[in-house]
Amino acid sequence: MTYLSPLIGLTLALIAGAIMFAVLGKPPLGALYAYFIEPVSEMWSVHELLIKAAPLILMGAGLCVCYQSNNWNIGAEGQMIMGGMAGSILPVLFPHFSGPFVLPLMLVMGVLGGMAYAAIPALLKTKFRTNEILTSLMLVYIAQLFLDWTVRGPWRNPEGMNFPETRRFDEFARIGEMIPADGRANYGFVIAIVVALLIWVLMAKTMKGFQVKVIGASPRAAKFAGFDAKKMVFFAFLLAGATAGLAGIVEVAGATGQLRPTISPGYGFTAIIVAFLGRLNPIGAIIAGLVLALTFLGGEAAQISLGVSDKVARVFQGLILFFVLACDTLILYRIRLVGSKVLQKGAA
């Protein structure tokens, strides 16, 4: 059931999606084909899929740890933005400081940026008992506005004819493309897979991973075992922040090559769906990340080939999360049909 339920959820979401297309006046099956099959039938668009999947897998895997330990970090979007910005400091402000060592430094700074931003809700939660759901979300809005200001103001490209974007990164500050002849996909995808596997090892094979699960499943039992809940808050937030920051700099140094007023079409929120569709398992997040990347890609494709709005992508993502959560019930509970007579007897 553990593996079956996300599949049932996905299927139900597809059926609901088919109904939605029918309501929009499109042939349901043809629309689903154009949405989910056509985009992966050509090599270059498979590359686009990998580009979109990289940040989703990275953040989804990080959030698995957060949610398993009952830390409701929903601000991955903000942590991704801050990671992207921190990682861009070198190529934007010191363009002449160039060489093969720049990219590794950028990745490290991106990770640190995401961690620093994720530390804020963790600190507020442990020190002041502030609800981390609300603070981490508010910090997303603040990060978006901060990026917007920075790119339009102090970091704007001096030779950019006043366009709101930073200078383009040079070769050394870019993540290389894997097979340039076929498409744009870069090594960011490989980084994402490796990180997700490492987090899986952490969760499945180490003491720390065990602590995460115990603290999430039963805070009381964790207390008896002597696990420090406050340290776990920091661990979970910093790990998720690190993956989000890495996702940010991978996106900036890989796909775009410069900072713009927005660097993410809501990857940080979609990553929440990735984590749940992957059943809070980092390897599950790899598959789920590819599926949700397909919803982004399919949205773009359907807009062109069917003339439906790209908003359909968001609807699909919401539907997937909804049905996956509904199907979780199948894992946790056994469905029994109870007649009303039995019910009355039981109540009496």
Binding site: L134, M138, I142, G153, I273, F316, G318, F322, L325, A326
Partner: protein
């Protein structure tokens, strides 16, 4: 009308959607359910209200449809968390994501259209009174609903038997169930009330505050409403105070932007979000009040044992 009155009026207009949505969520949370989907229900109310009003030309039909959209959206949440006992935090997030997506899809044909505004009331003589006239007798109808809601919710929760029952469910659903109280039925109704309120709040945005449809026009107000409930430590009168405080902050930053003070506009726009964090930190200092007022079952699923 003087400058001071004008500012007070705009503060009331900015505070009203926050107040209504927060009051609805307060009732939901008092019943022990945490619905994080306020933003999603609000935006659905906004798009439904706008669409209905501009199709019929009647803003009141817009108001009704906004309430209906909010309530129907909340039903999806209720079914998952109450009937299927799904995780409330995750389902609330799902509701927000779905609401933002669906509203964008529904609202697409209406982007850029001029809306229908729900006009302010006007009573001869009374509205023309200096200073208090426009404030007390010249606002939009939803403003008066919001004030009535504060009184109504406070009265319901603390002065009626149903309110007492609802609060007891929020504090211990197992005992309530043992007493024969239909826990899930109460919670369904509470969640739908919260949805209706969030829908009305959204309707206020698209029919009064800025009578047009813009994608994501709720801009985090649903989340601020959630924070207001915590800020108010689950007390209706304090929600009123909190909503007007936030209304004042957001209007203050708009005026500061208009005056062109030497601060980046982005920083001013961020002020309500920063204020939310600061206020949450300050309020959580007072551990005792928070603990006393927090519904003990908040966010926990109830599965009747048989």
């Amino acid at each position: 009308m003087g400058m001071a009155e004008a500012i007070l009026l705009t503060i009331a207009t900015a505070a009203t959607p926050l107040l209504i949505a927060a009051l609805g969520e307060l009732v939901v949370e008092r019943s022990g359910v945490l619905n994080l989907g306020v933003e999603g229900m609000m935006i659905m109310g906004a798009v439904g209200g706008f669409a209905a009003a501009s199709l019929t030309g009647n803003p009141w039909i817009g108001v009704l449809v906004a309430i209906l959209f909010g309530a129907v959206t909340s039903l999806a949440f209720a079914f998952l968390t109450l009937s299927l006992a799904a995780n409330q935090v995750a389902t609330g997030l799902a509701l927000t994501i779905l609401g933002l997506g669906l509203s964008g899809l529904i609202g697409e044909p209406f982007v850029g259209q001029a809306g229908v505004k729900l006009s302010n009331i006007s009573i001869p003589i009374l509205t023309d009174l200096p200073l208090l006239g426009p404030l007390l007798f010249g606002q939009d109808p939803i403003f008066y609903m919001s004030i009535a809601l504060v009184i109504g919710v406070a009265w319901f929760l603390f002065k009626t038997r149903f309110g007492l029952t609802l609060r007891s469910i929020g504090d211990n659903h197992v005992s309530a169930h043992a007493l024969g109280i239909p826990v899930l039925r109460y919670r369904y109704l509470a969640v739908m009330f919260g949805g209706a309120c969030a829908g009305l709040a959204g309707g206020h945005l698209s029919l009064v505050y800025t009578p047009q449809w813009v994608e994501n026009m709720s801009a985090g107000r649903g989340w601020i409403a959630l924070a207001l409930v915590v800020f108010a430590s689950w007390r209706p009168a304090r929600v009123l105070a909190g909503a007007y405080l936030f209304g004042a902050v957001s209007i203050g930053q708009l005026h500061a932007q208009a005056l062109g003070v030497g601060v980046p506009s982005q920083l001013l726009t961020a002020l309500p979000y920063i204020a939310t964090i600061v206020v949450l930190v300050l309020i959580s200092q007072n551990v005792r009040t928070t603990l006393i007022n927090t519904p003990a079952m908040l966010g926990r699923a109830f599965v009747p044992e048989r």
